[in-house]
């Protein structure tokens, strides 16, 4: 088996003779290899289809000559198209004209939202902002404590009027306050105490959970966020499309954060999510520590997906 797309394409074109355009069979073989590479990288099937039909159009035009290696030409085209879709330039955070700027985090269970709250808080504080973290996850056991610890490590205050699910509640473990109210009060508190950015941590939820989706929509309606960031695990597979669409339709988001990019997953989800929602990836989360966080780089991501 060949390790990279580039190797596979080189093998595909090995028998290429003569000059002129790539034959239809050559183009088909090319597309097969690209499709395979993208699926192995967890790019979702519908997005793979869209993508390969664009590549097909361009591949048809490739001239075979002695001088140019067609495999390299194809890889270059694929790379250009990938970078194009992932966004040429990283979009910056939008700040409110009248502070506080409100940033709401949303995503599946365990995606990395609470950790990201700390990372964003720390990053913004270092740029001279005065962020406040708001504990609106009252559902996952000790999510509030977790955010408090994260806030302490980040040197950022945490607004946490409710304890959520925590020890000492006996078997039911479901007594909790109202996450929407906490979010609303958090923004009011920030305005009052002159915090210029509010970061709202929310509970993880599934796309199919209508009730919890509505709760997220209610948090959004109550706080009118300037940014809603969809946090998605770089290891996610084909479900990226269904889930991203569910969050897009159920809550609506303005940017994407890819988490756990310090792993060895190829991260095709980046392409899937951008491909179906049109929202840009803004940040990459690259570790458990709060400083392991950076702006998203489309070109690095393209190379990573292609395993180059």
């Amino acid at each position: 088996m060949f390790a990279t797309l580039s190797d596979r394409l080189t093998a595909t074109f090995k028998s290429l003779r003569g000059k002129g355009r790539l034959s239809e069979a050559d183009v088909d073989a090319t597309i097969r290899e690209i499709r395979r590479a993208l699926l192995d990288a967890d790019v979702a099937l519908p997005v793979v289809r869209q993508f390969t039909s664009r590549i097909r159009e361009r591949a048809v035009g490739i001239e075979v000559s002695q001088a140019l290696n067609p495999a390299q030409q194809v890889v270059k085209i694929v790379n250009e198209e990938l970078v194009g879709i992932l966004g040429g330039e990283t979009r910056r955070l939008r700040f409110a004209k009248n502070p506080p700027t409100v940033i709401m985090l949303a995503g599946l269970q365990g995606a990395g939202k609470t950790t990201l709250a700390g990372k964003l808080g720390r990053w913004l504080r270092e740029q001279g902002h005065t962020p406040l973290l708001v504990a609106s996850d009252l559902q996952r056991p000790n999510a509030v404590t977790q955010l408090e610890v994260v806030g302490q490590r980040a040197g950022v205050p945490v607004f946490a009027p409710e304890r959520g699910v925590s020890e000492g509640q006996g078997v039911s473990g479901t007594s909790q306050g109202d996450p929407v109210q906490v979010a609303r009060d958090g923004v009011a508190f920030a305005r009052d105490k002159h915090h210029d950015v509010v970061i709202i941590d929310t509970a993880g939820r599934l796309g199919v959970d209508g009730e919890l989706m509505q709760q997220a929509a209610d948090i959004k309606a109550a706080t009118s966020p300037d940014e809603v960031l969809f946090v998605v695990d770089a290891m996610i597979g084909q479900d990226a499309v269904t889930t991203a669409m569910a969050f897009m339709e159920g809550v609506g988001f303005t940017g994407v954060v890819l988490s756990k990019l310090d792993g060895d997953a190829r991260g095709g989800a980046a392409l899937s999510v951008v491909g179906v929602t049109g929202q840009p990836v803004m940040f990459a989360s690259t570790g458990e520590k709060l400083e392991e966080f950076e702006l998203f780089h489309p070109d690095r991501m393209a190379s990573r997906i292609l395993d180059m």
Binding site: R36, L39, D40, A41, D42, A44, L45, L108, Q109, G110, A111, G112, T114, Q139, R140, P141, N142, T145, Q146, E148, V149, V150, R153, V165, S166, E167, G168, Q169, G170, V171, S172, G173, L206, G207, V208, D233, M235, I236, G237, Q238, D239, T242, T243, A246, K260, D262, G263, D264, A265, R266, G268, A269, E288
Partner: protein, 281 residues
């Protein structure tokens, strides 16, 4: 015309179903090749029948003849509790699974002790202790963050022995399999626990939304701690968890349990038929 409905569309649809379930390109291609062969040999002409054969083939892959043992190894010798360690990458549902599993065991009249060997993530021990509280079992934890996870795990088993518990469930910190230092640390946790005697069960928790990286997770964790069973979590969502098909086949490690939600009762035995039905739905 109706005799020859097995057109390209049928095969495309089958392929699409399998790929969208995260089965992976190779297993999908192999399965379809085998299916095509049977269709030719049997002279099958209608889509319905092909789908029936597809179901059979997939079932055979998920539940091979010799029958994988999907029961938990929690029978124990007198004087020593069974020890179960739960491992996996970050955020897959390890702590929640420990909580749910404790609930199942308690309902089965077992005495259970939890060990909070995630001393790293913010409030991880609190989260486990809340689960312990929920299901009414004690949690052994360190009183400080960043304590040595191996010694907490050791203490948990020790407490289990002293209290004559039936099962000790050890929760570990999430770690990505490419982090060599963290994987070494996990190996050490296991070795230190083994000073009390063998670990009976090592459950790898895989998130059903995980794509092809799930195979790498399973390979590396198996190398480091010899995984004995898989727990497939978050199957209550839209993801199908198809990566476990390749994992089970490559490593011979059976899926034993599935996670179907965030509540204490949302853990169930893995049932191949139901899994295959959901995958093809």
């Amino acid at each position: 015309l109706s005799r020859d409905k097995l057109d390209a569309d049928t095969w495309d649809e089958i392929e699409e179903t399998l790929l969208l379930a995260d089965l992976g390109v190779d297993p999908t291609t192999e399965l379809i090749d085998r299916l095509r062969e049977r269709v030719t040999v049997l002279g099958v002409r209608d889509t319905e029948h092909v789908r029936e054969l597809l179901r059979e083939e997939l079932k055979a892959l998920v539940d091979p003849g010799e029958g994988l043992d999907r029961s938990l190894a929690i029978d124990h010798a007198p004087g020593r509790p069974a020890v179960v360690m739960v491992v996996g990458v970050n955020g897959t549902g390890k702590t929640t699974t420990v909580g749910k599993l404790a609930r199942v065991l308690v309902a089965d009249d077992k005495d259970v002790v939890l060990g909070a060997a995630d001393t790293f993530r913010a409030a991880a021990a609190d989260q486990l202790a809340t689960w312990g509280d929920r299901v009414g079992v004690p949690t052994i934890r360190s009183d400080r963050d960043g304590a040595d996870p191996a010694s907490v795990a050791f203490d948990a088993v020790k407490a289990g022995i002293e209290s004559e518990a039936d099962v000790v469930l050890i929760d570990t910190a999430g770690r990505l399999q490419n982090k060599v230092g963290l994987m070494d640390e996990l190996g050490k946790v296991k070795r230190v626990v083994e000073k009390h005697g063998p670990v009976d069960e090592i459950l790898l928790v895989l998130d059903a939304t995980t794509g092809q990286n799930g195979m790498q997770q399973a390979k590396v964790f198996s190398e480091v701690v010899n995984v004995t069973g898989i727990v497939l979590t978050k199957l209550d969502g839209t993801a199908k968890g198809g990566i476990v098909v390749a994992v089970q086949r490559a490593l011979g490690v059976p899926v034993k349990l599935i996670g179907l939600g965030e509540g204490p009762d949302d853990l169930a035995p893995f049932e191949p038929d139901a899994f295959v039905d959901a995958l093809l739905a």
